[in-house]
Symmetry: C2
Subunit: 275 residues, 2 copies
Amino acid sequence: MNRAELEAAPPGVVRQAIREKRWQGVTKRLALGYHQANVTIVPKALAFDFMRFCFGNPKALPLLDVCEPGNPCPPRAAPQADLRTDVGGYLILRRGKPVERVDTLVPYWRDDHVAFLTGCNLSLDRVMLESGIPLPHLVDEAAFPAQYRSSIPCVPAGPFAGPLVVSLRPVDNERVVPLIELTSRFPLSHGAPVHIGDPAQIGIPDLSQVDWGRRNVVGAGQTPMFWACGITVQAVALASGIEEIIVHAPGNMFVTDMLVRELSAAAASPSPGAR
Amino acid sequence: MNRAELEAAPPGVVRQAIREKRWQGVTKRLALGYHQANVTIVPKALAFDFMRFCFGNPKALPLLDVCEPGNPCPPRAAPQADLRTDVGGYLILRRGKPVERVDTLVPYWRDDHVAFLTGCNLSLDRVMLESGIPLPHLVDEAAFPAQYRSSIPCVPAGPFAGPLVVSLRPVDNERVVPLIELTSRFPLSHGAPVHIGDPAQIGIPDLSQVDWGRRNVVGAGQTPMFWACGITVQAVALASGIEEIIVHAPGNMFVTDMLVRELSAAAASPSPGAR
């Protein structure tokens, strides 16, 4: 399959292609218009602390869904999906070290695992395309956003503590204000940037030293804009030696059934509540 | 002290008056413009399930803050406050029965208690006054909203399961649409109504049989409008026999330092995140 086929496909078709290994690349531009999600799986003993960590750091970790303990199905985000198989790759980290990259979680899943889904900037690919914002990863097939550890500390919760990771987008100067206005309307996809301009002010001495993703060059007449990023979970797991944490492989997001446009206005009530 | 003095007072002054028992009534119209909150305290063993219950039922239980286990201070909502003393009264429920009403939680607080704050419709008193919406409890000193158990089930989480409680406001017919528009902009204060019109459709056979609060008569030319209500926690504790749960006494809300107007637009990111 090629990316163009999956751009206009509904989320269930994209997840099936991923589950059957017919798609193994990053998920940028896939199922355009639907929320893509960071996946974090922790043992139940850490689940309350991790949920508080999401609540305390909503720009990095806007919570889209949380599963019942032992159940790999996200009830709100994609009630037909299985988080053990519907992601292109997973990283298993133990005591602050990455120990394995695997293609499926079926042999690893336990009854005490709790899965969380948090928002992702790739969810805005359609908004950016429709708004004519030429972000590098939307223009160049090989490009991907660049992510950096910043000097901004997360609000800690239990054992979860560490630096905020930010994603860089180089933006033409005249688009900086409109892009702040635009992204602030999508709090479930990281909302407004946490910083614009000089990277050194948030502890990034050299933009060429990328921590995750690929380098995005900031051209003449452009401003570096930095958004909070879901990879923060990995940075925190590494920094604080979390006993066990499983995340999606970088760029291999989980594609949800949740429409970005339906949720932007009612961020705190992504479902109609009890109805 | 009288209500008029505390209407324009900042939240810290209102909390001090409550702590020193100089104010012992309901908190309607106090510290106008600041979020008032439902208080729920559960043992740590139930905290993750309760937090998931809030996430699954955001219209009834929009989460404003969650405390660290054993710490009665809400870090985001009022970092100088103490939830053991700064509420006018508390109800202790055990195994689905109300067992005691107390004025302070100091003798009852344990290291494994976890406190949650969720949004409340009294937070919108100032918005309603400024918008000229003559809700009964804002016009008549003795009046208070009426609440009913509905037939709408909450989305369950662990042991938390039961009916959604709704609050009634009788509204002049021509204000129904504007009031839906207005309240939908405040998801942290229950957002848009869950039902308008015939109460029987949501399992309320007789509006004169109030479950909590005081009767509000629906006059000629008025429509009954129903919003999700934080008292849902009590109804659920009673219905499902939760081991231990402590809530504020009805109408005795916790007054936070959070401005309603600052949060309405950025509901999912009430704090600036990691900054």
